[in-house]
């Protein structure tokens, strides 16, 4: 695998993993997609169980303990929404992330009403799925620190100050937000969708915004990755951007 979404133990390490092994159930009938998801999640050191029908998925989720369920809505036999509804009625409160090809507002609202914790519309970007899963697993645990660090880059969220090897970096508001976001997802690729949505607060991704993101990222990189320091911000072609250490 040439694309790695996690670059090593030190960046991925979170308090969660130390406590126990994270188990994720994937209920997805499309074999290829299920396998890709499984291998991407395994690369993040999650333990993955795949079920390919609604029935089996339901029994698994009901009988065993998982930290998260990734649930496709369009399933043969029992539909995703029905499974979700039944699980919640049986007081199974495992976080559920639904995958749907239908992006009408009604479907999303219905899914969230029935107790889904998050949703993604197909086709989704893998980095985004991983980010959402991390967010769901992190939920309820205070992980927000006031200081973010990568190599000799330090960001003080309270003072809104970034320094590289102690030298302050002069950043615009947008650049600071962008850097903060990259640091929060340190070691993980962030897609343009994620940036458009989370940093630019654009509800929809559009070509002009992509261009804006690219320009902004180039400027940020020029300021952060100055000569004589380790390159931290990398472009993953066709996927997005990643801030990580230990790369040439």
């Amino acid at each position: 695998m040439f694309l790695t979404f996690a670059s090593g133990k030190e960046t991925r390490a979170s308090d969660l993993d130390n406590m126990h092994h994270v188990r994720i159930l994937i209920v997805e009938d499309e074999r290829k997609l299920a396998q890709v998801l499984a291998s991407a999640l395994q690369a993040e050191h999650y333990e993955v169980v795949i079920e390919r029908t609604g029935e089996n998925g339901f029994f698994r989720a009901n009988a065993e303990t998982f930290d998260l369920v990734v649930l496709d809505l369009m399933l043969p036999g029992r539909g995703g929404l029905e499974i979700l509804d039944t699980l919640r009625k049986r007081q199974v409160h495992t976080p559920v992330l639904i995958l749907t090809a239908r992006d009408s507002v009604e479907d999303r609202v219905l899914g969230l009403d029935l107790g889904a914790d998050d949703y993604l519309v197909k086709p989704f970007a893998l980095p985004e799925l991983l980010a959402r899963i991390r967010a769901l697993l992190r939920r309820g645990r205070p992980t927000d620190s006031l200081r973010l660090k990568a190599s000799d880059l330090e960001v003080d969220l309270v003072a809104r100050r970034a320094t590289r090897n102690g030298h302050p970096i002069d950043l615009t508001v947008r650049e600071f937000e962008l850097l903060e976001y990259l640091l929060r997802h340190q070691g993980h690729v962030v897609s343009r969708e994620m940036l458009a949505h989370d940093v630019w607060k654009e509800p929809r991704r559009a070509t002009p915004i992509d261009n804006v993101i690219d320009v902004q990222m180039a400027r940020l990189r020029k300021k952060v990755d100055v000569e004589g320091h380790e390159r931290l911000i990398h472009t993953v072609r066709g996927v997005g951007f990643v801030l990580r250490q230990g790369e040439p």
Partner: protein, 485 residues
């Protein structure tokens, strides 16, 4: 088989109503006629009786023996007349004369003579008689004279008239019904022709039109309406066809790139960097396709009218500044200046996201095509109950022949160049769509320096001033927060 009465055609219905109305009218008419004729006949009979009475008074004389007799020339012999009866009584009730038909009529009610109607109808020998009785004087004697006439002839005549009316009525109704049916068929024939002509115009022959013989009559107007409908259908069909063709072309292009990249990558052993490069390219194309499909879906939802706008009252200038600030960095990169000539307080009632996207797309276009170091001017104002947003660039402008089509989906003035910019030719189509669903208008004009000026016109919102709305919104928000706590 479909019966005539299961679902009667307009023709049958019309004829039925026509016949029903005619029947009622004929019955009323026949009844009135009969009543009038009968009345007239009875009057005539009474007149005749009156004449007979007077003639009898003249021709009766007293005889020396105290009786009464016919006198003079007897060219008319009352005795041989069996349709009349003459009777004369003396004042004390003795019958002095009786001549005419051999029938026994009821006796005269002397007591009521002169008080009740002098004319009466009596029945005798199974027949009806009309009689007139009155006191008179003959040869100096006071007598009572009664003249009676048989009503039989009159009754026979009335009966005949009744028979004619009764038999004629259904005949007339049937004949009129047939006539009405034929007339209705004739009048409705153009509609049948219209239907069969319209049936011939199918999806493949939508360019054909129905002929309009007389555009001013009802059928002509109907035909014009149908033709207009076909016109609308044809243009949306054409649009759809073009759209489908363009969309599949636009999707095929990235798809074939993905395929070639994949095929080339597996064909030979390469190092990791090369593979990464190939996969990255493929992902870029996938991304392009994803965006394209999202946009197409949105447009098609807009076409189907299933998009609900969440309108709010907004300051157009504010919205323009917002859009400009989010794209400002792109202009900066090209050393372009964004200038603002904005009248504040130009209020419009719009869906923020939808309209903002339109502005962003047009602004992006202006920045993209404006040369390095040029100026992009943003103007917001209002005139004639309309809000105006104009974005002017110093680019090469759009040739006059393309100005209409520039808003069409997938249209690009310069195919190769636009694709390099990453656009699928949908930005302006989206902008037009967004402006259209707000009841606005978008067009492009040439500026004096040769650049383009995009003008968005929107209906002005002249309702409640914003300050009030803002105050209400503020209150609403506070309330919501409070209730949540």
């Amino acid at each position: 088989m479909k019966g005539l009465w299961d679902a009667p055609s307009i023709r049958v219905t019309l004829t039925g109503w026509y016949a029903a109305v005619l029947t009622v009218m004929m019955i009323v008419y026949a009844t009135a006629t009969f009543v009038a004729v009968r009345h007239e006949f009875l009057e005539q009979l009474d007149d005749q009786l009156h004449d007979d009475f007077e003639a009898a008074e003249e021709r009766l004389t007293g005889t020396p023996d105290g009786r009464v007799a016919w006198n003079g020339d007897r060219h008319h012999d009352p005795d041989s007349d069996d349709t009349r009866v003459y009777e004369v009584w003396s004042a004390n009730g003795e019958q002095l004369l009786r001549s005419g038909a051999a029938v026994t009529l009821p006796p005269v009610a002397f007591a009521s003579l002169g008080t009740s109607d002098r004319y009466e109808t009596v029945v005798a020998g199974g027949e009806r008689w009309r009689a007139v009785a009155a006191p008179t004087s003959i040869g100096g004697h006071a007598v009572v004279l009664r003249v009676s006439r048989s009503e039989e002839r009159l009754r026979t005549q009335l009966w005949e008239i009744l028979v004619v009316l009764a038999l004629g009525l259904p005949l007339v109704v049937v004949l009129a019904g047939i006539g009405g049916y034929l007339l209705a068929r004739r009048a409705l024939a153009p509609i049948d022709q219209l239907a069969s002509a319209a049936r011939r115009i199918t999806a493949e022959r939508l360019h054909e039109r129905l002929s309009v013989p007389n555009p001013n009559d009802e059928i002509g107007r109907l035909t014009s309406v149908i033709n207009d409908t076909f016109g609308g259908l044809e243009s949306s069909f054409d649009q759809l066809r073009r759209f489908t063709a363009d969309a599949s072309h636009e999707l095929r292009t990235p798809l074939s790139v993905v395929r070639s990249l994949g095929e080339a990558a597996v064909a030979e052993r390469r190092n990791a960097v090369d593979y990464e490069e190939a996969i990255g390219s493929m992902l870029e194309e996938v991304d392009r396709m994803t965006n394209l499909i999202d946009t197409l879906l949105r447009l098609s939802r807009g076409d189907a009218g299933t998009i609900r706008l969440s309108r709010e009252q907004l300051d157009l200038g504010q919205l323009a500044r917002e859009a400009a600030s989010s794209l400002g960095i792109l202009a900066e990169e090209r050393n372009q200046r964004l200038t603002f000539d904005i009248t504040d307080g130009v209020m419009v009632s719009v869906d923020r996201l939808v309209l903002r996207e339109a502005i962003v797309n047009i602004l992006d276009n202006a920045i993209k095509y404006g040369p390095t170091g040029s100026t992009v001017a943003i103007h917001v104002g209002s005139s004639h109950q309309q809000a105006l947003l104009a974005i002017r660039d110093e680019g090469p402008g759009i040739p006059a022949e393309h100005r209409e089509r520039i808003f069409h989906r997938f249209f690009r003035v310069d195919e190769a160049r636009s694709r390099d910019h990453g656009g699928a030719g949908l930005g302006l189509a989206i902008a037009k769509w967004a402006v259209d669903i707000h009841g606005g208008e978008i067009r492009v004009e040439q500026t004096s320096t040769g650049g383009s000026e995009f003008r968005i016109l929107l209906p002005l919102d002249v309702s409640v001033p914003t300050e009030f709305k803002a105050a209400f919104a503020e209150r609403g928000r506070t309330g919501a927060t409070a209730s949540k706590l």
